[in-house]
């Protein structure tokens, strides 16, 4: 048992390692996915801002270009644009005498971006390879983008650094429209031609800062969840391991108990064997040592009776005869006790036994012993039981001998042997019409040396039915009796036998035992 628990534990440990690995891999995957999504979102937001600003600049520019530029009062910040000097109405005077000058879209957007860039936070820039103002010259990234537009690219987007700070840079090409030619026709442009590019640069620092905070929070949360999971798995593992250790301990205890039990059974068996051997030795010594002196008593009392008869009176002879009779009786008693004790010893050999034949044999023998008696016998034919032949013969011999004895005074003695099925068990019966006995003493019927009748009435040692009971019990069966004094007795017994049909049940055939000389 501990070996299987060990194997189980090893397998469980393996599962828990797998669970730990799986948990870690799943969480790591989720974290990577989460961070990727966050990163993409950051750039999506920055891109949207870039688009918004770009479209706003475009809107300003298109509005201004649509109106052919706007007139604004001339100030120090907004001087007359020398590059528009070729336009006839660059400077006008209102009827009230205020001086106004024309502001073209590029100029307007540039000024918006230069003076209010802090408000937008996003740097917009219009640039071109053909410059009207040198300060509008493209930076290296814009130059690269303009070259790309020349090759037909529709837009450029990239993260690049400006003055050491990360920016999302976006740029689209700018094509000449009809409204543009008012100012730019002198440069030789035609409508639809690539004029330059409009770029926006969205500072990424705030987005990256937000992303950094998100990353920090997320990583921390994931670490916490991961740790919690690890703790849970570890906790579960420890619980299971403790349970298993307990099972193992219990198993070991059971084994120890079993070993103890086995040892005790062995000890008891040895004790029992020793006791049985002692009993055997005792029975043997009873057989030998009790009979030998008895023989001497009988022998020498007979010798006195024979050799000194002339010196004894009738009383003396009577006493010696009584001694002899009693030694004979004691001899029979010793033999009966021995045969009773022998019943509890010795192996049983189960086999089918023809009880009808056995009964017939025994009754024939009884008839031969007392040829003067006439007893009617009825024996159910073909009754076969499963049991030990020797013990079954002992049972039937004692019951039939009893029946024979107690019918000795009946006017028409009759002895029957039959079987009937009660429930699923055959019940064997020996019935006689003899003296019977008083049922109120039936408790003592099977006790050794307890007798129902005086020795003068019917002789016997009182061991016969005790022997029957022992033999029946060794078969796992039961024996009981019914009787009415003066009308006879019936003895029933069962045997725990292999189930099978009982043959010859309920029928009788008359079979007078042979009355012959044997």
């Amino acid at each position: 048992m501990p070996r299987s628990v060990h194997t189980h534990l090893t397998r469980l440990r393996h599962y828990f390692r797998l669970a730990l690995t799986g948990w870690t891999v799943v969480l790591a995957g989720l974290l990577v996915w989460s961070l990727t999504v966050a990163h993409n979102t950051t750039f999506e937001l920055a891109r949207k801002e870039a688009f918004a600003n770009f479209n706003k600049d475009q809107a300003f520019r298109f509005w201004a270009a649509g109106h052919g530029g706007v007139y604004v009062p001339v100030t120090a910040q907004t001087p007359r644009n020398p590059r528009l000097s070729h336009i006839p109405e660059r400077d006008i005077t209102t009827p009230s005498g205020r001086e106004l000058t024309l502001m073209n879209p590029a100029y307007m957007v540039r000024q918006l971006n230069e003076e209010y860039a802090d408000l937008f936070g996003v740097r917009g820039h219009i640039t071109s390879e053909k410059l009207m103002r040198p300060e509008n010259a493209p930076d290296p990234w814009e130059r690269k983008a303009l070259a790309a537009f020349g090759r037909g690219e529709k837009e450029m987007m990239e993260v690049a650094e400006i003055e050491g700070q990360p920016f999302l840079r976006f740029m689209r090409p700018m094509f000449i429209k009809q409204g543009c030619l008012k100012c730019h026709a002198f440069q030789g442009y035609k409508s639809g031609e690539l004029r330059g590019g409009v770029s926006v640069a969205v500072p990424l620092a705030p987005y990256l800062e937000q992303e950094r905070r998100f990353v920090a929070t997320t990583v921390f949360s994931y670490l916490a969840v991961w740790g919690l999971g690890l703790y849970g798995i570890r906790f579960g593992w420890q619980r299971l391991r403790r349970d298993h250790e307990e099972i193992e301990r219990a198993g070991a205890e059971i084994q120890a108990l079993n070993r103890g039990l086995e040892r005790r059974v062995k000890e008891r068996t040895a004790e029992l064997d020793a006791a049985n051997q002692e009993l055997e030795a005792f029975a043997y010594s009873v057989s030998h040592d009790l009979r030998a002196p008895l023989r001497s008593i009988s022998g020498f009392s007979t010798a006195v009776l024979e050799d000194y008869a002339d010196r004894l009176d009738d009383n003396g002879r009577d006493y010696l005869e009584r001694i002899d009779r009693n030694t004979a009786k004691l001899g029979v008693l010793i033999d009966d006790i021995l045969s009773l004790s022998r019943l509890t010893r010795g192996e049983m050999h189960f086999q089918p036994v023809d009880l009808s034949a056995t009964v017939t044999e025994i009754l024939s023998a009884l008839a031969a012993e007392a040829p003067e008696r006439e007893v009617e016998t009825r024996i159910s034919p073909g009754v076969v039981a499963h049991g030990d032949p020797r013990l079954l013969r002992v049972i039937l011999d004692n019951l039939l001998r009893n029946a024979w004895k107690f019918t000795s005074r009946a006017s028409r003695p009759r002895i029957e042997f039959s079987v009937e099925r009660r429930g699923d068990q055959p019940v064997y019966s020996v019935r006689d019409n003899g003296a019977g006995f008083d049922m109120s003493y039936a408790d003592n019927l099977f006790a050794p040396f307890k007798r129902m009748h005086s020795a003068e009435e019917f002789p016997g040692s009182g061991i016969g039915l005790a022997t029957v009971q022992r033999a029946v019990r060794r078969h796992g069966g039961r024996v009981w009796a019914e009787s009415v004094p003066g009308e006879g007795a019936v003895f029933h017994f069962t045997l725990a036998e292999a189930p099978g049909p009982v043959q010859g049940a309920g029928e009788f055939v008359s079979a007078e035992p042979e009355q012959g000389d044997m």
């Binding site: 057989s287 030998h288 009979r291 023989r295 009988s298 022998g299 001899g331």
Partner: protein, 144 residues
């Protein structure tokens, strides 16, 4: 050889006396030689100067060597291999009977308690083994 001795191997003096009496009652006049233990029995039977008895009555419970051991050694020796041996004992144990016959006894008789029946048994034994039974040639020696 001419006497047709009976050898009784018996340690109980009462039994010796009763056996002697029973032989007398049965009118068996053959000389009765009595030895009191197993070793003495073997000493007697293995003595080449002494005639073999026509019948040996052997008890089982004996001092020194028990009846079974005596029987075993008798059967193992060519001189006494075929010697008629009757177990005359108190025991009626199956194990004793089985062992006696296994070791090669010729008969097994249980001593009855009642003296009258004992006399009857001794009488029949004497009649059978001394008068009716024909001993092996050579008085029990296997090589004849």
């Amino acid at each position: 050889m001419n006497d047709k001795n009976i050898l009784l191997v018996e340690d109980n003096d009462d039994d010796v006396q009763l056996t002697r009496r029973a032989l007398e009652k049965a009118h068996i006049g053959n000389p009765l030689i009595v030895v009191r233990d197993g070793a003495a029995a073997l000493e007697y039977l293995f003595d080449d100067n002494l005639p073999h008895p026509c019948l040996t009555l052997l008890d089982i419970n004996l001092p020194k060597l028990d009846g079974h051991e005596v029987l075993k050694r008798l059967r193992a020796d060519a001189r006494t291999k075929l010697l008629p041996v009757v177990m005359l004992t108190t025991s009626d144990e199956e194990s004793d009977r089985l062992r006696s016959y296994s070791l090669g006894c010729n008969s097994y008789v249980r001593k009855p308690v009642e003296f009258a029946r004992f006399v009857e048994a001794v009488k029949q034994l004497g009649l059978y083994w001394i008068i009716l039974n024909r001993p092996p040639p050579g008085g029990g020696a296997a090589d004849g």
